[in-house]
C-alpha cells in the first residue's frame, strides 16, 4: 500500500524533505500548538452546533411561550445527548484559544522572536489574535438570550462610537442597529463561515512561514551546536508529542466544560425589555473596566460634526494604541543580535519589565471591572492602575539588574 502510493505521489521525498524537519523542543513552544488544538476543537464542536442551530430571531411558540427561534434552538441543542457539554466545550475552547494565543505572544515578545526576519509571522500572529477575539465576540450574540443580546448591544455601541465610519462598520457587521431581524443571519454567516475560513488561511500562512524560516532555537542550542538546528524530527517524535498533547487538551477541556457548563442559556432566559447587568468574557473585562472609570463627558470634537467620546477613547483607542505599538515593534527594534536564538528575558531588563508593566495594567483595569462589587471610586482605581503599572516596571527592572546584573553593551538598547 505504501509502495503503491509512494510510486504515484513520491511520499519518500516528502518524508525526507518535510516530515524529517528538526523541531526544537522547549516547554514554552507548545503554547502555539495549544492555540491550534483549541481552533480544531472549535471547528469540530462548531460543526455539531451549526447542524442544530437556527439563525433566526423570529418569534416561535416554545412550551407555550413566544421566544426567538435561535434561543429555542439552543435549548434544543442543550437537550440533545452531550449537547450541553459540546456547547460548553465550544465556549471554553474559545477562551482557551485566546488565552493560549496571548501567552504565545508574550513568549515571542520576551524572547525577542519578533525581530527580523520574523516580522511577517509576528504580524500574522497579531492578526490571528485580533480575529480570534472578533470571532468569539460574534459567537456571543448567537444564543440570543437576555445576557448575550445585552452584551452584543454594548459591543455594537462601542463599534458605532468610532468617528466617521463607526456606525457604518457596526451596521455592516451586526446587520443594522442591533438587534434587527437581519442581525442574527449576518452574524451567523460571519461566525461560522467567513471568520473561520480567514482564521484557517492565516493559520496556514503562519505555519508555512514558520517552516520556511525554521523555528527559533532555545538559547542553550547556541552553546551546544552553534549554527546548527537542534531538535527532534517532525515525524515521528514531534508528531507523537503533538498527538499526546492534543488528547491531553481534549481530556482537560471536556472535564472543565462538563463540570462548569458555560453560558447557561436557560438561566438567562429570552431577551426582555429590560437588560440584565452584564459583564463580558474575561478577555474583555479590562476594556469594560476602563469604560467604567473613564469620565463620561470626555469629548474631543473633530471636523464635520464628528466627536471622539469616552466609549471610543476607552473602548477603541486605548486597545488600538497597544495594537499599533505591537505592529510597529519589529520595525523599531532592528538590533541584529540573536536573530536565530531565543533571547534570555533577564538580559533585556527594559523589554521584560515593560511586558510585566503591560500585564499589570491589564490586570488592574480588569479589577476596575469589579468597581461596584469592591466599592472603589474612580479616583482610587486610576491611582491603583497608574501606580501598579509604574511600580511593576520599576520593581521588575530593579530585580533583574540586581540578580542578573546589567546586560553587556550592545544588547542593551531596547525597543
Amino acid at each position: 500500500m505504501y509502495r503503491w502510493l509512494d510510486e504515484r505521489l513520491s511520499l519518500s521525498r516528502l518524508n525526507k524533505k518535510f516530515l524529517r524537519k528538526a523541531f526544537p523542543v522547549h516547554h514554552s513552544f507548545f503554547l502555539g500548538e495549544i492555540t491550534m488544538f483549541a481552533f480544531i476543537t472549535l471547528v469540530l464542536t462548531g460543526v455539531f452546533l451549526s447542524f442544530n442551530y437556527e439563525p433566526s430571531t423570529r418569534l416561535i411558540k416554545h412550551l407555550g411561550k413566544e421566544v426567538p427561534a435561535a434561543y429555542a434552538s439552543v435549548l434544543y441543542i442543550d437537550s440533545l445527548p452531550f449537547g450541553a457539554v459540546l456547547r460548553s466545550v465550544h465556549h471554553w475552547s474559545a477562551s482557551i484559544m485566546i488565552a493560549a494565543a496571548f501567552l504565545h505572544l508574550l513568549r515571542i515578545l520576551i524572547s525577542g522572536a519578533y525581530k527580523k526576519p520574523r516580522e511577517i509571522n509576528w504580524l500574522l500572529g497579531l492578526a490571528l489574535l485580533g480575529l480570534s477575539v472578533v470571532t468569539s465576540f460574534t459567537g456571543y450574540s448567537l444564543p440570543f438570550d437576555a445576557f448575550s443580546v445585552t452584551a452584543t448591544q454594548i459591543g455594537y455601541g462601542i463599534g458605532a462610537s468610532m468617528p466617521y465610519m463607526g456606525e457604518w462598520i457596526s451596521q455592516l457587521i451586526f446587520g443594522g442597529e442591533y438587534p434587527t431581524l437581519h442581525s442574527i443571519p449576518r452574524v451567523y454567516s460571519l461566525h461560522v463561515l467567513w471568520f473561520p475560513l480567514l482564521l484557517a488561511a492565516l493559520i496556514g500562512a503562519h505555519m508555512l512561514v514558520m517552516l520556511k524560516q525554521k523555528h527559533t532555537q532555545p538559547a542553550y542550542a547556541e552553546k551546544v551546536a552553534p549554527g546548527k538546528i537542534l531538535g527532534v524530527p517532525m515525524m515521528p517524535q514531534q508528531g507523537f508529542m503533538m498527538g499526546v498533547l492534543f488528547l491531553l487538551y481534549l481530556a482537560v477541556v471536556f472535564f472543565i466544560a462538563g463540570t462548569w457548563i458555560a453560558h447557561p442559556v436557560e438561566v438567562f432566559g429570552p431577551p426582555t425589555a429590560s437588560t440584565p447587568a452584564v459583564k463580558p468574557d474575561w478577555y474583555f473585562i479590562w476594556i469594560y473596566g476602563i469604560l467604567q472609570i473613564i469620565p463620561g463627558d470626555l469629548k474631543v470634537s473633530l471636523p464635520f460634526g464628528a466627536v471622539m467620546n469616552s466609549e471610543f477613547i476607552g473602548g477603541v483607542m486605548i486597545p488600538g494604541i497597544l495594537g499599533v505599538v505591537a505592529v510597529l515593534l519589529p520595525f523599531l527594534d532592528t538590533r541584529k543580535t540573536k536573530l536565530r536564538y531565543m533571547e534570555l528575558p533577564t538580559r533585556h531588563p527594559v523589554r521584560t519589565s515593560v511586558t510585566f508593566a503591560l500585564l499589570a495594567f491589564m490586570l488592574t483595569t480588569t479589577l476596575a471591572g469589579w468597581k461596584e462589587e469592591f466599592g472603589f471610586s474612580n479616583g482610587q482605581l486610576w491611582a491603583i492602575i497608574i501606580i501598579s503599572t509604574l511600580a511593576t516596571y520599576l520593581v521588575s527592572y530593579l530585580i533583574i539588574i540586581s540578580y542578573w546584573g546589567r546586560p553587556p553593551k550592545g544588547e542593551a538598547e531596547e525597543a
Binding site: 456606525e167 451596521q171 442597529e177 449576518r186 429590560s274 437588560t275 452584564v278 467604567q292 463620561g296
Partner: protein, 208 residues
C-alpha cells in the same frame, strides 16, 4: 532601436489592464453599499407620535394600557411601549421606542421637565445614552434611575440629568398630557434616542 517600441507596447498594455481593473473595482462600490442593511419602518417600529397611549413592556400585565393610577408616586419607573389607540398597534418592534414612565410629586419636578410633565408624570427614553442598555433599575434611597450595565445614574426630577457614571448626556424626554386619566404622548422625543455614534447629537429623532 528594437527596444523602444517594445517598452511602449508594454506600457500601453499595462495601462489598459490597470485602467480596466481600476474601473472594475470602482464599479464594485455600488453593490458594496448594499451590504448596509436598510431600515424598514412598519407600524410596529414607528416612533411615538402625538396621541399615543402607553402599555406595559414586560411582566404579567404586558400589553395592558397604563393609567395614571398604575404609576406609583415617587417611583419606581414603569417600562412601557407606545400604542397607537386608533389601530391598536403596540410599537414594540423598535427598542428605541422603550419609554420609562414615572410619577413624582409635581412640586418636586425641576424647571427642565415641568413643560413635558402632566400631573407629575414624566416620560423618558429608556435607552441609556452610554451604550444602549435599558435603564431598567431604580435606586430607591436617592430616587434615581439606574442603568445596570455600566452604573449610569439619572435624576428623573431634573430632566434625567446624569448624576453618576459614564453616560454622556441626559435621557431624552417625551412630552405628556393627561387624557381620561391616562398619560398620553404629546409629541416626539426632545433629543435623539440612544447611543449617538461618533457624532454630535442632532435634535429629535421623532416626528411631532
Amino acid at each position: 532601436m528594437s527596444k523602444k517600441p517594445d517598452t511602449t507596447r508594454r506600457a500601453i498594455v499595462g495601462a489598459t489592464v490597470g485602467v480596466g481593473l481600476g474601473l472594475g473595482a470602482l464599479s464594485m462600490l455600488a453593490p458594496i453599499a448594499a451590504l448596509k442593511p436598510k431600515k424598514e419602518v412598519t407600524p410596529e417600529t414607528e416612533p411615538p407620535k402625538e396621541g399615543d397611549v402607553f402599555v406595559y413592556a414586560e411582566g404579567d400585565r404586558k400589553g395592558k394600557e397604563i393609567t395614571l393610577d398604575d404609576l406609583p408616586k415617587g417611583g419606581p419607573a414603569v417600562l412601557a411601549f407606545p400604542k397607537d389607540p386608533e389601530t391598536g398597534v403596540v410599537k414594540s418592534g423598535e427598542r428605541n421606542n422603550l419609554v420609562l414612565l414615572i410619577r413624582m410629586d409635581p412640586g418636586e419636578l425641576g424647571p427642565e421637565v415641568a413643560d413635558y410633565a402632566a400631573d407629575g408624570a414624566v416620560a423618558y427614553s429608556a435607552i441609556c445614552t452610554h451604550l444602549g442598555c435599558t435603564v431598567s433599575e431604580w435606586e430607591p434611597d436617592k430616587g434615581l434611575l439606574l442603568c445596570p450595565c455600566h452604573k449610569g445614574f439619572y435624576d428623573p426630577r431634573h430632566g434625567a440629568q446624569v448624576v453618576g457614571g459614564p453616560p454622556p448626556r441626559p435621557l431624552p424626554a417625551l412630552p405628556l398630557i393627561v387624557k381620561g386619566n391616562k398619560p398620553v404622548c404629546a409629541g416626539g422625543f426632545t433629543s435623539q434616542v440612544g447611543v449617538v455614534a461618533g457624532l454630535e447629537p442632532q435634535g429629535g429623532s421623532c416626528a411631532v
